[in-house]
Symmetry: C2
Subunit: 497 residues, 2 copies
Amino acid sequence: MFPFKNNIILTRTANRTLYLQLSDQLIRYIKSGKLPPATKLPGSRKLAEDLMIHRKTVIAAYDELISQGWIETIPAKGTFVTSTLPIINPKDFDKKTSIRNTKNKSSFSYDIRPHLKRELNKNTSKKNVRIEDGVPDHRLAPIDEIAKVYRNITKKHHHRQLLTYGSVYGNYDLRMALVTYLNQTRGLRITIDQILITRGSQMGIYLASQLLLRNRKRIVVGSTNYMTADNTFTDAGGIIEQVPVDQNGINTIVLEELCKIKEINAVYVTSHHHHPTTVTLSAKRRMHLLQLAKKYNFAVIEDDYDYDFHYNNSPILPLASNDINGNVIYIGGFTKIIAPAMRIGYLIGPKDFVDEAADLRRIIDRQGDQLLEQTLAQMIKTGDVQRHCNKVLKIYKQRRDLFCALMKNKLGDYFDFEIPKGGMAVWVKLKKPYDWDTISKIALEQSLEITPNWKRYDNDNSGHNGIRIGFATMNEEEIQNVIEKLVEVFYSIDKNS
Amino acid sequence: MFPFKNNIILTRTANRTLYLQLSDQLIRYIKSGKLPPATKLPGSRKLAEDLMIHRKTVIAAYDELISQGWIETIPAKGTFVTSTLPIINPKDFDKKTSIRNTKNKSSFSYDIRPHLKRELNKNTSKKNVRIEDGVPDHRLAPIDEIAKVYRNITKKHHHRQLLTYGSVYGNYDLRMALVTYLNQTRGLRITIDQILITRGSQMGIYLASQLLLRNRKRIVVGSTNYMTADNTFTDAGGIIEQVPVDQNGINTIVLEELCKIKEINAVYVTSHHHHPTTVTLSAKRRMHLLQLAKKYNFAVIEDDYDYDFHYNNSPILPLASNDINGNVIYIGGFTKIIAPAMRIGYLIGPKDFVDEAADLRRIIDRQGDQLLEQTLAQMIKTGDVQRHCNKVLKIYKQRRDLFCALMKNKLGDYFDFEIPKGGMAVWVKLKKPYDWDTISKIALEQSLEITPNWKRYDNDNSGHNGIRIGFATMNEEEIQNVIEKLVEVFYSIDKNS
């Protein structure tokens, strides 16, 4: 008989409960053939004595093995290793080739999309201090609350159905909560058939682009514009037309002239804070833009990625709040408020368009994560999201104020910038005769990493010499550290020039 | 002074802690203007006495309000409602239009994709018993384990970085765990640079289609084939070519003839169990298919959606295990093993192709849910996933056996079918002179719903008269109930004919 006593080692201090340790080891012996099919196992009393454990532990282990199909109990005879095992080694279908290695290069042709390559980041050292372009501080994310609510939701029996296939439009409770929340906070007047839950705003941009821009349709963007959006438009098959951006956002007069000579299918705006320059689209231009949309029948993709982050004044309502003609596709999300990893967003628009977007979304990833969506719905309903938002807003405002004050005091000779009214980044222009190539090279020597693809802010090659510097991820000490490093950089440049 | 004592009502039995009840109500009064900016609030001792609560509760509520920016403490003066409030009503930019309703119909043009409409399900009554086409039983999903592991992960400080932007390729630990797991269980020999984590297998099919089929490239599928895959290929711009499917899977001889006359860019196979007919691609044809792929330089999209579900014999290794030439794109996922809502899958292929797919995925939804991915990684490493898989496998086998036995005994006169070796559905052909249109109509009178778009199994209009009937979602009682209902349906048809 197999010497169970000598071969099974149980550790009371291990992380794994005793009965699972026991069943693990029995499975290993069954798999390896040391306990072949139809082997009789010792009775639970006997094995418990041998291993000096409670008999209940052995019974629990046997139950586990029975439920997994490794062993079976035959009445009045005892417990045996199953004669037909559930998992056996899979069969190879061609022995000759199976020892050779898989080739790691494709032998077929596919579509190469060079425009998408531009977003790759260099792998960087962890020791470096890195300047981000405006992302939230994940250290502030309310992860404990999320995990707690998530856990409570899974405990409720009626929530089990969230585990099966659900609506492509997203979890019903979340859609309802968002309709109320957005109607209240952003002046929208939407109903539930106008909203599709997405995986963050990026999926909203992707869906809208695929539906609006195939076959060389034209989309107008500001010059300069958020690069990932530009790439998404190009990838969908669209042609990008640019209009200038000034202190009041994109220039709608130039847009009007463009509409007269070319067929425009869509206009993309980050109305609340233009990306990258952080300016707000003025009320006058908002009205003008909607008039043009009506006249020329184009769609306005309003990407309201950081509506929640405004510091001084109350925000201007989004274009979507005045969309009386059915022209606006409104896109937002919770990645900035909660955490980049919580990829829940929404696409809002006229019902027919939302339906079409849902049909497309079904073949992309079928549906969202209903459990997480239910979690967010609950956190909106209890006010947890809004409370968290107010908290981080206060912190980000302090960080913005400190960062801008230090920039002004210590680096005012080198940079031009306006204090942004909201958002998580400052649009900083380097004065002549400095250039970012030199700066970023010398900065790296100081372990300060200015986002390696900073050229992305100038994707239309206008030579504006600006970049975004995110302040939200840095606490007071980190801000002071970055400023000191920048001072060092300019000191070293000036010394050598 | 504002009558706090009369206006604030705290309930000790409520779900919400006292200090949050207090801060909620104070916020409401601040927002409504009843406590205007710069109002002095009572001291904590005074307010505690008035409300008959502990002073610490008042302090906690004030701290909460301070951190949210609603109130501020001025040393030696007291506590005041903040003079510049963080959230004020947003400004409307066009008063004239803002009272009118949003139009719910678009005033712009976009791409309509009629082929995607075919998947819409009818909204059905909850009272009906519904025949599914082969989905897992979500009641068996290990949701408690998932929630527990998820919670533990969020508690670890170093996991906080999972909340920020991460790799487009997916969580590193999950990729590592999958490389080991798939190499061990499926005979793959891949490295970490050959895997991309997706949102379930559907995203893998979508990404591969977008890269392989744009601009009217040809893809070969079996006749008949999984409809959602066909729709995804069409949507990407591909042209579908069909070859027959028999007991050994798709006919590779016919495929070879096709390759001689047309340029084929890809072949789609559900090699383990062909969808919908459940047949397994034979070893001989697997080898032939790989030879053809090498000779004609096409990609094989191997959708191994239910590799884990095999009942009688050991499974044949996937094509990907013998991909010595770099032709196979291997797609799988955990939606079937764990639950449809856990939309984690993978795309495996030659490195260059995986990189291109990752670039495309970046503009679709940026990245996956790293917390959930880390959870799954842990559950694979501890063996929880495999243990769960063995458990449900045993249950599904019993359900298959019962379902097939009852079908044979009670409905053998009406149906032809083979007992499937694996998977979650039986491919059932209706004998002449019956037809599904009549059956499904009469069945609905019995509150039995045969998936309303059952015609989707015959998307090439070959008239095979077959549908898939899923057995996995039904327990013993439910199976007996469905069979009884079907017997009733045929009894009523025969009686009236």
